[in-house]
Symmetry: C2
Subunit: 394 residues, 2 copies
């Protein structure tokens, strides 16, 4: 691994996001057009057919729409044939895997302008179907086969964290309250409703201690960003965002096999790589989107990404440190929890929020003066994770 020390790896010159939620009567490919259309509209100097050299798409499950081969599907539906297309699957981190490989493609010099994005169409399936398809990201012989699903796996982490560090159900609920509040200021979010601590605590138990409001929803959506080599950025925008750090890591696939389930190894390793490459520290991050598939995940990630000391995550949300206006605002978009979680789209949807924040377009949820940002996106119960660090252009 070479240290780049903050040298830009790639520039983001545009981004787009479909409305998240229940999107009836549309195929995933059509949702992708909605996201890409916004990205193209924001970037009038881009001629997609002439300029885009590759399409990097995160898409978790071919079962939802009986449709794989998503790279050429999206290239085709964007009118870009014969431009090469790739599908990446890393469970709920699929489009961050796409982003990381797109960054490497740009850094290699082989491709100078690429489209990266993600898509998932989920809500037309029944909840048992979605649960089954999502579970394919966990270990079949050691987890799925025995009936463990993701709420159960994260409940194991939650009880362990409560036991070891004294984290409380109220603290978990506070993550949900914050993220719903942020989503109420995001017109593209699935849920626009502010909730109270009592609403969250009184919601029905899914897998104790996780209740309905501790869990991210089932969502349809797509996300898109345009990446170019840094030298080309100003051709396309006056306000580029530079990717200055990128890290990827794995953990044991099965949660049973891990030494410590109060921590997410992949988040630690991937973020250390990204911080080192970017030449920044956790205290330098002005705004972050992190993978809050369940509230306990956000609490653990405060710790493993270095925003607070180990074991302090519950107190960190209780103190309001991750609210807008706090020490480090987290999930200003509403997060997976309230913006919604169309699994393949989520990674680049985080990028979209960072793009808005660092270009000052986040409206009522704007973090003032944000210059350095981070995204963390994980697959499954953390068997894969990708961390990227961004800097506002001059």
């Amino acid at each position: 691994m070479i240290s780049m020390s903050g040298k830009p790896l790639a520039a983001i010159v545009s981004a787009g996001l479909s409305k998240f939620g229940r999107r009836e009567g549309l195929y995933g490919r059509e949702l992708f057009l909605e996201a890409a259309g916004e990205a193209f509209d924001r970037c009038p100097n881009l001629d997609p057919r002439r300029d885009i050299k590759g399409v990097f798409v995160g898409h978790m499950g071919e079962s939802y729409e009986h449709q794989g081969h998503t790279g050429p599907t999206i290239s085709d539906w964007l009118g870009l044939t014969p431009t090469q297309g790739f599908r990446f699957e890393s469970a709920c981190a699929s489009s961050s895997a796409a982003l990381r490989c797109a960054v490497m493609a740009i850094a290699s010099g082989l491709l100078d302008i690429v489209l990266v994005g993600g898509v998932e169409k989920m809500t037309h399936r029944t909840t048992p179907e979605v649960t089954e398809y999502l579970a394919m990201a966990s270990d079949f012989p050691f987890e799925q086969w025995h009936g463990l699903t993701f709420p159960g796996l994260f409940a194991l982490m939650a009880t362990a964290h409560m036991h070891k560090y004294g984290t409380t159900e109220e603290q978990l609920a506070m993550v949900a309250v914050k993220n719903h509040k942020n989503a109420s200021m995001n017109p593209k979010a699935q849920f626009q409703k502010v909730i109270t601590l009592e609403d969250a605590l009184k919601s029905r138990v899914i897998a104790w201690p996780l209740k309905l409001f501790d869990c991210s929803p089932i969502t349809d959506g797509a996300s898109c960003a345009i990446l170019v080599k840094p030298e080309l950025a100003k051709k396309f925008t006056d306000t580029p965002i530079y990717i200055i750090g990128s890290g990827g890591a794995t953990d044991r696939l099965g949660v049973y096999a891990r030494d410590d389930i109060t921590s997410l190894l992949s988040a630690k390793v991937a973020s250390q790589e990204a911080y080192k490459m970017a030449g920044v520290e956790p205290k330098d991050i002005d705004v972050a989107e992190v993978h809050d598939c369940f509230t306990i995940a956000e609490v653990i990630l405060y710790e493993d990404l270095g925003f607070c000391p180990k074991g302090y995550g519950g107190k960190f949300i209780e103190e309001g440190q991750t609210h807008i206006g706090g020490k480090i605002p987290v999930n200003t978009s509403g997060g997976l929890k309230a913006k919604g979680h169309p699994v393949g789209a989520t990674g680049v949807a985080q990028v979209y929020e960072i793009y808005l924040q660092l270009t000052g377009q986040a409206g009522p949820r704007q973090v003032s003066g944000a210059e350095i940002a981070l995204t963390h996106n994980m697959g499954g119960s953390g068997a894969s994770a990708f961390v990227h660090i961004y800097r506002r252009g001059d």
Copy 2:
């Protein structure tokens, strides 16, 4: 796109392949260990845990084993946690998509040593199940929904090619005879049996004019190669193989949408890119592995890869030009047709054969003096394709 003019992009320093065929009682991840074990054994100077910076895996279908998230799965089962892992899906070209992104990762300078491979475990499923899972690579609303499966799609191409160019059923059968003969010299091939032209022509019709022996089989298998940046190659082997060209392209997803179904646009565009980058022409290729999912595909590819003029593919096999000892031996391994086609593994299985050929380890099927080689691997009915060109090291 920058022209590299034959400059090595990456070096292959080792490769491994599982036995192909019906592998009962094993998970795909276990087949992968078999392939990786061979690659590690061939490369004693490699310390996998210390050296490998990323795992790039092609895997087409999560449905076969109810298991996605293949990047971390393989990293875990190779004992490489927390090394980053990626899954690529581009239908039957999945591991060539992995290879292309691995090449970009090496060329970017971000990763210096990576493992690339592919895996599919298929034979424990019923034929209708496999047919359904494979069909997810075709267009759901426009093809699958109407009952078109891959034998039908390639039969459409075959009848069009016969009509336009006079290609015959006998010529198609000659591809099968050649590839079975080659496979009889490959101990890892699924089929070890030489067949006659009569055997092929008398086999039962699957989708006219394609008969059983015109179709590749359902196979279990895994493939693996170790890629390093060119400067490191000699640390690991005296006989490196350099990747000097890499191309990727798409076609319209649905066959109905294409201008000409006697040609594969993605193969043409991807190979032109690879030839240009490598600074070689079709006449320079000494040995090639091309995607013979059906015999008609190999005939069309002779033309679209530039091995013979358009429309001449049928005569080209009839003249024996692609036999070992001919002008350009194609599918010396036995190809998908007879070596077998574990879809996610196929791309890097082609690389394995090229590795053997260019290092003089192909035994009775060795092409003498082979120096420059090509692989072509396509997804579905050609909606995606990747072409790589290789040069024997000095």
